[in-house]
């Protein structure tokens, strides 16, 4: 065992002990604790937990790499995955907290006074969360497999065991406090290498400023990177392609509105004590997310420059040890096409000799910069924290949907509190194992659909919730028609234009040139229009329902969620 492996086992082992300890300390004793952590989580802790819940293996491991290879093009993820919190804080969180129940189907079912509406919302929530969580479990498996050098299946099994333990035991309460610990681990692990590298390259300890800093020779880092990129035939790093504008716009919007419609994000705002805490908590959540999201583009810039300078036009025989290591893992592939022993890394695929997997950027970055082994081990622990925390949050939504929305409010309303708590634990256990099995052998479509879960959330929940708060005249007919048509349109468009899903469409057929990733924005607009038109043609909701709407608009008189219907 080499030094790096010892550090990895040590740090990962310690963090796991920490999570398990926290879970035992924070186990849930009632359904209220299980679903919304008793409604007593401080806004600061809730903000951290939301941040950990939100930042998945994809944010942690893949996003910086994606930006590194697309430059400006990666901005859609940066803006899309942060801008939604403005919508949450201003348009949703305080009102849903005032409403004071457990789930989105609770809100939809009661605001639209209809069991059918609740059922539609319930199905949408399970569909969205399940596609998302299977991708996470796969990420957990890959992370364990790569870092601990165990087989992929063993990796997933370890992941299942850990999540199973603290999610089943602690419910929302256990998950929330574990996520606070996981946030601390992951943000520390993400920023430490960035600070070191920023100091090395531009002499500035703050990566966010460092990416705009100057190199030793006095040129600006970004100018240098633009120069390197265009010399090798790549797109200029800091500008966008002309044909991209429509899609950057639509994809950014789909991610923003999707964020504000994702059940596992919204449910976090049911866990704080007061309405004003819900607003503040969204702000804290974004603050904690922004720490990572503003560091990622800096890492992307540093890594891209380092990478090009290390490999481009250099002899293959002189490559450092990390190069051969990632070659063995098949994440780097070198093929000496012209047999000159020198690496030609260029945009033109017929001449290019080096294929680089984007995912190695965050992992290889500390090694490329020659940082000590404990920093690299820390990055591993951070990646695992990110994957585990997101998976746990999603699994809870699925379990709640089944035990609370389906069982308690639909099938067996007379179930006792104790019975419901048992049902919730069984549901989460089944969901963990189901997601793990699906993650081991993901149906081809799942990997494709994870990013599209945002489109589905944007086109179904977002308009129904917003209209439920801001349009007193909105009725069940309008909301249901909007949700069904919105999510159907989006699903069909994605299927039709995703060859991986077996759809027959080709890019020439895109409506207005919109890629499937951005179609949720159009689906949302369709949902809005359908809801408004249908609601005006059908009877207004009763005075009692309109009173509910008036009531959720003001903070005073908010109660902690009560378990009675």
């Amino acid at each position: 065992m080499d030094q790096l492996q010892i550090w990895t086992f040590l740090i990962v082992g310690l963090t796991f002990l920490l999570y398990i300890g926290v879970a035992i300390w924070a186990r849930a004793g009632s359904t209220k604790e299980f679903y919304v952590a008793g409604g007593g989580v401080s806004p600061l802790a809730n903000g951290m937990a939301t941040g950990a819940d939100w930042m998945s293996a994809a944010s942690y491991l893949s996003m910086a790499g994606l930006i590194s290879f697309t430059g400006y093009g990666g901005s859609q993820y940066l803006m899309g995955w942060t801008g939604g919190y403005v919508l949450l804080a201003l348009l949703l969180a305080p009102y849903l907290r005032k409403f004071g129940k457990f789930t989105i189907p609770d809100f939809i079912g009661e605001r639209y006074y209809s069991k059918q509406a609740r059922l539609i919302a319930l199905l949408c929530a399970i569909f969205i969360s399940f596609t998302y969580v299977v991708g996470q479990m796969k990420g957990v498996g890959v992370a364990f497999a790569r870092f601990l050098e165990v087989p992929f299946t063993t990796g997933i099994l370890i992941g299942i065991a850990i999540v199973f333990f603290y999610a089943v035991l602690g419910g929302m309460k256990g998950i929330t406090y574990t996520q606070v610990a996981q946030y601390c681990v992951l943000i520390f692990a993400f920023t430490v290498p960035a600070v070191f590298i920023s100091l090395q390259m531009v002499g500035n300890p703050i990566p966010q400023l460092g990416m705009g800093g100057t190199l030793e020779d006095g040129t600006y880092l970004l100018d240098k990177l633009n120069q390197l990129s265009t010399d090798l035939g790549f797109h200029e790093y800091t500008t966008m392609g002309m044909d991209d504008r429509v899609n950057v716009f639509f994809i950014t919007a789909a991610l923003m509105f999707g964020t504000a419609g994702l059940p596992h994000v919204i449910v976090r705002f049911f866990t704080v004590p007061k309405v004003r805490d819900a607003r503040k908590s969204a702000g804290y959540a974004l603050l904690f997310i922004a720490l990572l999201y503003t560091t990622a583009p800096a890492i992307a810039t540093f890594a891209r420059t380092n990478l090009i300078q290390t490999v481009s036009n250099q002899p293959y025989a002189e490559m450092p040890s990390w190069f051969t290591k990632w070659e063995r893992a098949e994440l780097l592939q070198f093929e000496d096409k012209n047999n000159d022993g020198i690496i030609q890394y260029v945009a033109d695929p017929t001449v290019n000799e080096l294929i680089i997997d984007r995912d190695i950027i965050v992992l290889a970055n500390p090694e490329i910069a020659n940082l000590p082994a404990w920093v690299i081990a820390l990055v591993v622990a951070g990646g695992l924290a990110a994957a585990l925390s997101t998976a746990a949050g999603l699994l809870l939504v699925i379990a709640t949907s089944i035990s609370h929305d389906l069982l308690k409010n639909y099938l067996k309303p007379d179930i006792s509190e104790k019975g419901e708590l048992i049902a919730a634990r069984v549901a989460i256990a089944v969901a963990v194992i189901g997601a793990g099995l699906a993650g081991m052998n993901p149906p081809g479509f799942v990997a494709q659909v994870v990013a599209l879960a945002f489109g589905l959330a944007a086109s179904s929940f977002f308009p129904a919730i917003i209209l439920g708060i801001f349009d007193k005249r909105m009725n069940k007919e309008g909301a249901m028609a909007g949700m069904i048509i919105g999510i159907l349109f989006t699903t069909v468009y994605i299927w039709y234009f995703k060859p991986q899903l077996g759809g027959p469409g080709t890019p020439e057929g895109y409506w207005f040139g919109i890629k499937p990733e951005g179609i949720g924005t159009l689906g949302m607009l369709i949902n809005l229009v359908v809801s408004l038109v249908v609601s005006r043609l059908t009877p207004a909701p009763s005075a009692k329902v309109q009173e509910i709407v008036e009531d959720i608009r003001v903070p005073s008189g908010a109660k902690t969620p009560v378990h009675a219907h």
Binding site: L90, D223, T252, A253, S556
Partner: protein, 90 residues
């Protein structure tokens, strides 16, 4: 005018002021992200602030900082508004 009526008027005014805040803050939200970060990014890129082309900076850094400021401004405004109309949680 009885008390009930008074309360309702009060709440309507509270809601109206809240909506005004929302319109202003969300306009800024839209202008910064979709405007500076996407639609006008190329024009703004001709301006350099330190080592950053401005459009690129808005897209990868600035918009996120603005989002944060917007939320906390709204928190402060609403806490004041809640007090003014006496609808804050005791």
């Amino acid at each position: 005018m009885n008390k009930m009526r008074n309360d309702n008027d009060n709440l309507n005014l509270y809601w109206k002021e809240n909506l005004q805040y929302l319109v202003i803050l969300l306009s800024i939200w839209f202008l910064i992200s979709y405007g500076c970060g996407i639609m006008f990014a190329d024009v703004l890129n001709t301006i350099k602030v330190g080592g950053f082309p401005l459009g690129f900076w808005f897209a990868q850094q600035g918009s996120i900082y603005v989002f944060l400021v917007l939320i906390f401004v709204y928190v402060v405004l609403m806490n004041k508004l809640d007090k003014k109309y006496n609808v804050d949680e005791k």
